[in-house]
Amino acid sequence: MFWKIKTLKNIVRRSTNNNSANNNSDNQEKAEPIPKSINAVKSKLEDIFSECGDLIFREIVCNSKLKLLVVYFDGFVDKRALNQDVMRPILDHFSNEKPQGKSKRISELIKESIVNNNDIKETENIKQAVDNILSGEALLFIDGEDKALIVGVKAPQGRQVEEPDTEVSLRGPREGFVENLLTNITLLRKRIKNPNLKMEMIELGEQTKTDVCICYIKGIANEQIVQEVRDRLKKIKIDAILDSGYIEQFISDSRISLFPTVGNSEKCDKLAGKLLEGRVAIFCDGTPYVITVPHLLIETIQASEDYYDHAFFTTFLRLLRLLALLVSNLLPSLYVAMVAFHPKIIPFKLMITIAASREGIPFSSFTEAILMTVTFEMLREAGVRMPRPIGQSLSIVGAIVLGEAAVAAGIASNLMVIIISITAICSFVVPPLIRATMLLRFIFLAAANFLGFLGIAFLVVAVFIHLCRLRSFGIPYTAPFSPLTAPDLKDSLVTVPIWAMITRPRVLRPESGDAEAGIKRQEVQIKQ
């Protein structure tokens, strides 16, 4: 932990140095009030936003005394709303009647009794005004006043809420998060109608000023964890936050571990579940991926459908996923170790089959495995990166390269093709660990080629030691197995039906112990 903080401090120092020049000007802006004359305002803003062709200045003269300046970014604000709800009432009001006595300031008058729009605020300094222009509000400056009105007429931006491509479910809600932070928060509020659902907004990124939101349910999430999240987020000093992945890397407990200690999801229902378990979510504007902490190993084999379906199927699927996880890590290396080091343990008939398929292959089984695995990884990567329409031709080429042709040309054996295929299939079963297994597979292969089973065993032990050492926000990564937390085993490899899940996950140290719903459900059953 000390380690971590130290490095964070270093990063902070570094980024502070980088930005020192900007900071000075920032400070000046902050202190600067809004000039009374709109001409001064205009020249000031033109100065700040020089070469910003999409910034619109609109000057309105209602009568000789009243001059207004509206400033906004083209395309960023909803022009219809601006015209109908803001401009027209103002124009109507001031052109029809004479301004009333000077008892009220014009800005207050506009704010309180003229404008229809209900999102309207006042500001007194240029810095805040600039910030609001940047985040898509329209700014209304009034000649002769040192206050500006911020009118929230942000046009809805980005795509519609749709089903996420990365986390497809057969059963359950299909809504996924979008890039817009407010939309995402709304999606969540829709699911958890509870005032205890807290959203703490902060701003990260010196240049991007990205809105980040810490979300948790007060009373369930452990206060210490929430505080830790706040502290860690506060320490981030960076130019830009373009995706929650930036935050993820800053707040991970282990900087070098292959295993993710921060989870992410695109699905609203999954996130709601995580929050209700006592986790803390971090929303980040501009990305549909919401990250959750603490993230434990067991979560990698959990899926949201698990809770919507019968517990028996879930148990079976969980075991299947565990098997797939092991297979995708170990199968190629086990094969190489068997063929190269321990042919004695292969049953005779199988050995003949293997030997026959290996006959005439110019490479050692290790080289063959590396070749095929690398080819597969390239194919996978190409599949992710390439434009969609090329997909089909790529998959055809891939199938031919990986399958028929490689075997026919005598580059790879039949069996190796099968093994790599099985490994590939299995690696897709546990999506959160795809990256980790991808690298681990190569390390395991190297170990197998070096020492056979012994090497694999050695590495497996090393990986387990590493896993047991990992923490995610103070929670042991391998919980509930190590340390053994008996009540939490209900939702591990073997799952119980949802009505029997009456305690909150103990490993997350919830503020209140039991899930009300579970208990009530039980009572209902007894009454029946």
Binding site: F341, P343, M351, A355
Partner: protein, 394 residues
């Protein structure tokens, strides 16, 4: 207190030392690919006339096996031979096997050997010496079947190739397995043979293999040993008697004469044990006790109604038949070979160790002169789907 950096360095150093230990401590960690070994499926050992050891190996060509398995019936073109057989003469087994490398391309891999065939001449001169290598070498499969070639050299047997199984060694192994279910051969795997050779009070008995035709082998009968040397053969019936007595019959067909015809009894359960009866501290009688259950498998006798009384009568005849077979085996062991293959001595060793100490060295003589009592308790359980044979209604 150690500071963090030192601690980190220490733990890394420890880990490195442990890794090194792992590298050097284990025994064998050779990286040898499957394509770099010759898969030996059978071994034959015979002593040549000038006293040298002649080792024959049978090696499979995996690719050829695959093509014969998949290309059957396709015809056309010369099929590659699935196996090749190679013999080499050396001073010892190990010597011959190593010297053989001058004639083959890849290292010989012995773990896959399925059968070990010992030649008749070698067996007569003693098998203990050649087995030493098989215990000492780390690559030997202790579960391979050991057989004695009768009237034929191991090399000839290993060269038999037929269409039944592309790998002749597997073919031989399968025939042994089949014959075991007929109780006509004793199956001995290498580890058991090694154990039996080092045990006192029981002489080893090994399965026998002979050539039945140009392309067929027959595994029937057994070879009796005395002090590690082949002393004679047991024919299939004596073999079965021996197996009944030692309780190794799993199932078999016993034909008994009855009603002017024959009845085939299918033995479904059998257990037998041997014992020595002592009187005044001296052995007076050998006892063989066999309990067995059988079904009527086929009836070719005179048409007779099958009644309980009739079955009891059959049981008696059946028992007598078994008794005859056991008697034959005991007679051969006592009078002809003078070798205690049944393990009567072992019983004495177990239950009368003091007496055994005295008699151990000339037990075979003592054994040969003891009268034997054979008790067979045969039961007929079922008669198959029908009770009576086909007969006209009266």
């Amino acid at each position: 207190m150690i500071n963090r950096k030192d601690k980190w360095f220490l733990s890394t150093a420890m880990l490195a030392v442990l890794c090194l230990a792992v590298l050097f401590l284990p025994g064998c960690w050779n990286n040898r690919d499957l394509t770099e070994i010759n898969i030996v499926t059978a071994l034959g050992i015979e002593r040549s006339e000038d006293g040298k050891i002649l080792v024959t190996i049978q090696v499979v060509e995996p690719a050829a096996i695959q093509s014969t398995a998949s290309g059957k019936g396709k015809g056309g073109g010369a099929q590659p031979k699935p196996v090749f057989v190679l013999s080499y003469e050396g001073e010892t087994v190990f010597d011959a096997l190593r010297s053989m490398l001058s004639q083959v391309d890849k290292r010989l891999f012995l773990t896959t050997a399925q059968v070990l065939i010992l030649g008749e001449r070698l067996s007569k001169e003693g098998i203990v010496e050649v087995l030493d290598f098989f215990q000492r070498d780390h690559e030997v499969n202790y579960e391979m079947d050991v057989l004695i070639a009768r009237d034929v050299t191991p090399a000839e047997l290993l060269e038999i190739e037929n269409d039944i199984d592309p790998i002749p060694a597997m073919y031989i192994k399968k025939t042994v397995e089949n014959t075991v279910s007929r109780a006509k051969v004793k199956r001995t795997i290498l580890i058991d043979l090694i154990k039996e050779l080092s045990k006192s009070g029981r002489q080893p008995v090994l399965g026998q293999i002979a050539k039945a035709g140009k392309k067929v082998v027959r595994t029937e009968g057994t070879a009796a040993f005395k002090n590690g040397k082949l002393i004679g053969w047991l024919d299939p019936y004596a073999t079965r008697g021996f197996l009944f007595a030692t309780g190794k019959v799993k199932s078999t067909i016993v034909n008994i004469p009855a009603d002017g015809g024959k009845i085939s009894m299918e033995v479904i359960r059998s257990n037998g044990n041997v014992d020595v009866k002592l009187k005044n501290g001296k052995p007076v009688k050998l006892i063989v006790k066999v309990n067995l259950e059988a079904n009527i498998g086929e009836y070719e006798g005179e048409r007779k109604k099958v009644s309980p009384d009739y079955l009891h009568k059959l049981e008696k005849i059946f028992g007598e038949e078994i008794k005859k077979e056991i008697g034959r085996a005991i007679n051969l062991a006592q009078k002809k070979y003078s070798s205690d293959i049944f393990g009567f001595g072992e019983q004495l060793h177990k239950f009368h160790p003091h007496y055994w100490k005295k008699v151990e060295n000339n037990w075979d003589d003592v054994f040969s002169n003891l009268p034997a009592e054979i008790i067979v308790n045969a039961k007929i359980r079922r008669t198959g789907f029908i009770k009576n044979p086909i007969m006209k209604e009266r």
